[in-house]
């Protein structure tokens, strides 16, 4: 190992932040779901049990993946993309039923898999590997853009027809962010962002429920009362005040706020535990953001950097969108709060994704040097024979990006 790689220990701070979020999630999922279950005479512990299963599976995935070296992850990335696409196609092949059904495939009875989230994580891994291969080499740029954008488009299309517009937009945005970090030129960046905005708008207006939500939100900007769900999310948050009504003392979960244990869990947290807890949760995502990007910036390989940056963006971006929905700042999307919301696949897959970030964090270098230097090493290992460039990296990056 290079002497710059100072520890084989994964980032404990990041790991603990994720565990705390997950633990808060378990408590609040139970608090919110037992009430709703009592309303419908369903099994009061049913949601909690599923969540525990998912968290258990997710933690196993997290630990296992955090031990896989990023070099191996890089080689596995294209395969994971293929698997994810296969799963999405499998879900599509199921008989068409109500709106939601195509999003899921049943692994074993009682445990459904929502491949959209897997698709996002796999796409980011693939793009990270692609960026690693591209490595700013000019004659590879054409292929980099072509492969990167078509992979993004393909995966997003599969997620879009699931149908899951909000996940599609999040995945597409994150993918473009990864491509941007990996060297996408501004012109191409703007084109792809424009394409995403255009495609998103068309998809939104043609999908009845999304169109309605957006219309509602536009009315909100004109001062109208938000839709029923957002109104109750705000009432939940606001009525909680600074310290909240107390754990389990919330009212919104008794059927007033739809999806309270899921997309709207943040409102339930605000109602029961108050501003103190909502700020703590924002702070924990901030910590995930700091430590995730720290791992990215300290990664010894381009793949590691892109992977950690992309996945951290995916996780915190999803959290940001969820919290913006709950605070009535963007239209209702249906994205769960990472690690916290109930929803089997989301928790398990995002914990797995966190494992990938932790794996990158293992190879963190105390004193970040030119990532490209080490990349050159790896290339030379493959017999590519590149000159080793040394110097203060930041200055050089700045000059190149300028």
């Amino acid at each position: 190992m290079d002497k710059g790689i100072v520890r084989s220990q994964h980032d404990q701070v990041l790991f603990i932040a994720i565990c705390v979020l997950t633990a808060i999630g378990l408590v609040m999922v139970y608090s919110a779901s037992y009430a709703y279950a009592s309303l419908t005479d369903a099994d009061p512990e049913g949601v909690l049990r599923r969540q525990l299963t998912a968290v258990g599976l997710g933690l196993v995935a997290l630990l296992v993946l955090s031990y896989v070296p990023s070099k191996a992850l890089c080689r596995l990335a294209p395969a994971s993309g293929m698997v994810a696409m296969g799963l999405l196609l499998l879900a599509l092949g199921r008989p068409v039923g109500p709106e939601e059904t195509k999003r899921f495939i049943t692994l074993i009875p009682g445990l459904t898999l929502q491949p959209s989230t897997i698709g996002g994580v796999a796409l980011i891994s693939c793009l990270a590997a692609l960026g690693h291969w591209y490595a700013g080499i000019e004659d590879r740029y054409g292929r980099f853009v072509a492969i990167g954008l078509s992979a993004t488009a393909g995966m997003c299309l599969l997620i879009l027809v699931a149908p899951n517009l909000s996940t599609t937009l999040l995945t597409a945005t994150t993918a473009i962010v990864v491509l941007l970090i990996a060297g996408l030129k501004p012109r191409d960046f703007l084109c792809s962002v424009g394409f995403v905005v255009l495609g998103g708008a068309i998809a939104a207006w043609t999908t009845s429920y999304m169109g309605k939500r957006i219309a509602e939100h536009l009315a909100l900007l004109r001062g109208a009362e938000p839709g029923y769900q957002v109104t109750h999310a705000l009432i939940g948050l606001g009525s909680g005040g600074a310290l909240g009504k107390g754990l389990c003392r919330g009212v919104e979960k008794f059927g007033y706020l739809p999806e309270v244990h899921n997309d709207m869990i943040f409102a339930a947290i605000g109602e029961e535990l108050g501003l103190v807890m909502t700020l703590l949760i924002v702070a924990l995502y901030g910590l995930v953001l700091i430590r995730g990007f720290r791992a990215a910036l300290g990664a010894p390989t381009l793949f590691g950097r892109y992977l950690a940056a992309g996945l951290t963006t995916l996780i915190t971006g999803q959290a940001v969108i969820n919290m913006l929905v709950v605070t009535a700042m963007v239209p209702v999307t249906g994205l769960p709060l990472p690690f916290v919301s109930a929803g089997g696949t989301s928790v398990a897959v995002l914990l797995g994704a966190a494992g990938l970030i932790l794996s990158v964090s293992r190879e963190y270098t105390e004193e970040p040097r030119e990532v490209a230097d080490r990349r050159a090493d790896t290339d030379s290992n493959r017999g590519n024979g590149r000159t080793r460039v040394s110097g203060s990296g930041r200055g050089r990056f700045a000059s190149r990006i300028g």
């Binding site: 948050l237 059927g255 990296g393």
Partner: protein, 581 residues
């Protein structure tokens, strides 16, 4: 971002930091937004939350349970669900009406019509739905939780079904008694509803452990009846079979404990299900045994004979001649006897053969004032009971000698079966008229018992006369040629009298329409029970002896043998033997 010359891409730390900065700004924005909502707007949202979820909640008092003399439940409150809608908020009236109608068993179009016609912002669809339907109702509520809701409620359940329905009555949509004992004891049974304050969930249901009671509900008092479920069951069974067999229009049976006036059974036929009282015409709800008045016919004879004997107008050994008919004023009193009448007979014979001519002579001997006094002392002109719906008629204005003659055999006097059974109980117990008693005690929610003791209305006959008449009446049943021999019960001596009376409608007697009855006392040696069987509008050729007596026999038989009612030890009072509380 052009790169110049042969270059190596180093991965953009700058761009990475840019992305991180963007996400940080988002989080910072969320923090300000949270502080705004949870800090500055807290009071506003707290009030909105309060307005939406806090409410006063009615705590329905439990209506008192009605039990028989041994505590077997006859009417009891069970948890139920009230389903309501807010008509203005309802998006899809048709679909809601259809799905609720299907679950609640109410025609969907009637619900839909009511919702559309409702001008209020709140309307009950069903106030007493079965509590087990809750999950299915919730499915509907979930579709429009702002417009449909449920509340806890109670409903009246009659565990024994139609048993004693006419006596018990039923409660209406407000849980108020509308008929029978439920109505007449409404004040005691109902209790007082309480009020609580607390949070409701979206369906309107109070959230458990989130309510504060302001006024606790006061449960209603329970009633312990004098009725015996087993006796009632046996009587209803025999009555139904009997009425169906003879093709009468209706019938009723009362069994009374002669010592204290306790009504052990009071049955009507046809009856109805109190849980579904709207499916029968209103007349069926009325307790026939206490409300329906009729001219009792020959069952009156022993009552008049006893009076005449006691007051010395006749003697037991006196002979009466019956030549088949007898002129009284402008009228002709006759016996249904094919050839020449009953001839010479003593008072026992007059009763045994149910001789109209003979008893008319007794009535004429006693005279108008004595008969009037008798009927008044027997409370025939007053309500037999105030515990349930009852009726009474005054004696006719003109009470000439013809009335004296006909009243002696029960025409020209209108009474209810309850009057008659009380009078027979007086004959049986040595002459004391007891007020019929349906309710033995009321026990309030605090456990305080209010007894309703037996009431003595007066000594009508001297004991030796009453006993003498009872012994004469045993010959009616026990002798082969008595009119009531079909009422004979093996193993038990029965004293009784048949009755076949014409039915008055618009002041004239209807041809070929009779009320046939049998009034009996058993066991005759030491009387314990008096029972009356009345069949209304039996056809031509109907006689009390042929139609009513067999029903009486079956009832008496099943009471004695199947139910093993105490007949051997008359000294032991029923009250002590049965009431544990």
């Amino acid at each position: 971002m052009a790169t110049e010359g042969p270059t190596i891409w180093h991965g953009s730390a700058q761009r990475t930091r840019l992305v991180r900065m963007g996400l940080f700004l988002c989080l910072a924005f969320i923090i300000t937004r949270l502080i705004w909502i949870q800090g500055f707007q807290h009071e506003y949202y707290k009030k909105r939350s309060h307005d939406i979820t806090q409410d006063t909640i009615d705590l329905a008092a439990r209506r008192g349970t009605i039990t028989d003399r041994l505590g077997r439940e006859l009417a009891v409150d069970r948890p139920a669900i009230a389903v309501y809608v807010h008509p203005p908020r309802l998006q899809d009236v048709h679909r809601t009406a259809e799905s609720l109608g299907e679950i609640l068993g109410i025609p969907a179009d009637s619900i839909e019509r009511r919702i559309r016609q409702c001008s209020e912002s709140f309307m009950y669809v069903d106030r007493q739905a079965d509590a087990t339907l809750k999950p299915r109702i919730l499915e509907v509520v979930k579709k429009e939780p702002q417009a449909i809701g449920i509340q806890p409620a109670v409903r009246r359940v009659y565990p024994k079904g139609t048993l004693a329905a006419d006596l018990l009555g039923f409660t209406g949509i407000d849980h108020n008694g509308l008929s029978g004992l439920e109505a007449s004891f409404e004040e005691r049974l109902h209790g007082k509803d309480g009020v609580a304050e607390g949070e409701r969930d979206v369906t309107g249901w109070p959230i458990p452990h989130r309510t504060t009671t302001l006024t606790p509900p006061q449960d209603g008092a329970s009633l312990r009846l004098t009725l015996d479920v087993r006796v009632q069951e046996a009587c209803e069974r025999e009555l139904a079979e009997g009425v169906e067999a003879v093709g009468a229009e209706a019938g009723c049976v009362i069994v009374m404990d002669v010592r204290n006036g306790d009504v052990l059974a009071a049955c009507d036929y046809p009856t109805y299900n109190p849980s579904d009282y709207l499916s029968v015409p209103e007349e069926v709800w009325t307790p026939r045994f206490s409300f329906w008045t009729y001219e009792p016919g020959s069952t009156m004879k022993p009552l008049v004979a006893a009076m005449a004997l006691a007051e010395g107008y006749v003697t037991a050994s006196q002979s009466f001649y019956c030549g088949g008919s007898m002129p009284v004023g402008v009228w002709e009193v006759g016996c249904h006897q094919p050839s020449g009448g009953h001839g010479w007979q003593d008072l026992a014979g007059v009763l045994k053969y149910s001789c109209n001519v003979g008893v008319a002579q007794v009535g004429l001997a006693a005279g108008r004032d004595a008969l009037t006094r008798l009927f008044e002392r027997l409370h025939f002109t007053k309500l037999a009971t105030r515990e349930i719906t009852a009726q009474c008629h005054p004696l006719p204005e003109t009470r000439d000698s013809a009335w004296c003659a006909t009243a002696s055999f029960g025409q020209g006097v209108s009474i209810t079966p309850l009057h008659l059974v009380s009078a027979y109980a007086a004959l049986a117990n040595g002459g004391t008229l007891m007020r019929p008693r349906f309710v033995a005690a009321a026990v309030d929610a605090q456990g305080r018992t209010k007894e309703f003791p037996p009431t003595v209305l007066g000594q009508i006959y001297p004991k030796h006369v009453a006993d003498q008449i009872v012994s004469m009446l045993t010959h009616v049943v026990e002798d082969e040629d008595g009119t009531g021999y079909r009422a004979k019960v093996p193993g038990c001596t029965v004293a009784g009298k048949t009755g076949t009376a014409q039915v008055v409608a618009n002041g004239v007697y209807l041809p070929d329409t009779y009320v046939v009855s049998f009034a009996g006392i058993f066991p005759a040696e030491a009387p314990r029970y008096a029972a009356v069987v009345v069949l209304d509008k039996a056809g031509a050729d109907a006689y009390g002896g042929t139609l009513a007596a067999p029903i009486f026999r079956d009832i008496a038989q099943s009471l004695i043998t199947d139910l093993n009612l105490p007949v051997e030890k008359p000294d032991k009072p029923i009250e002590e033997a049965t009431s544990a509380e």
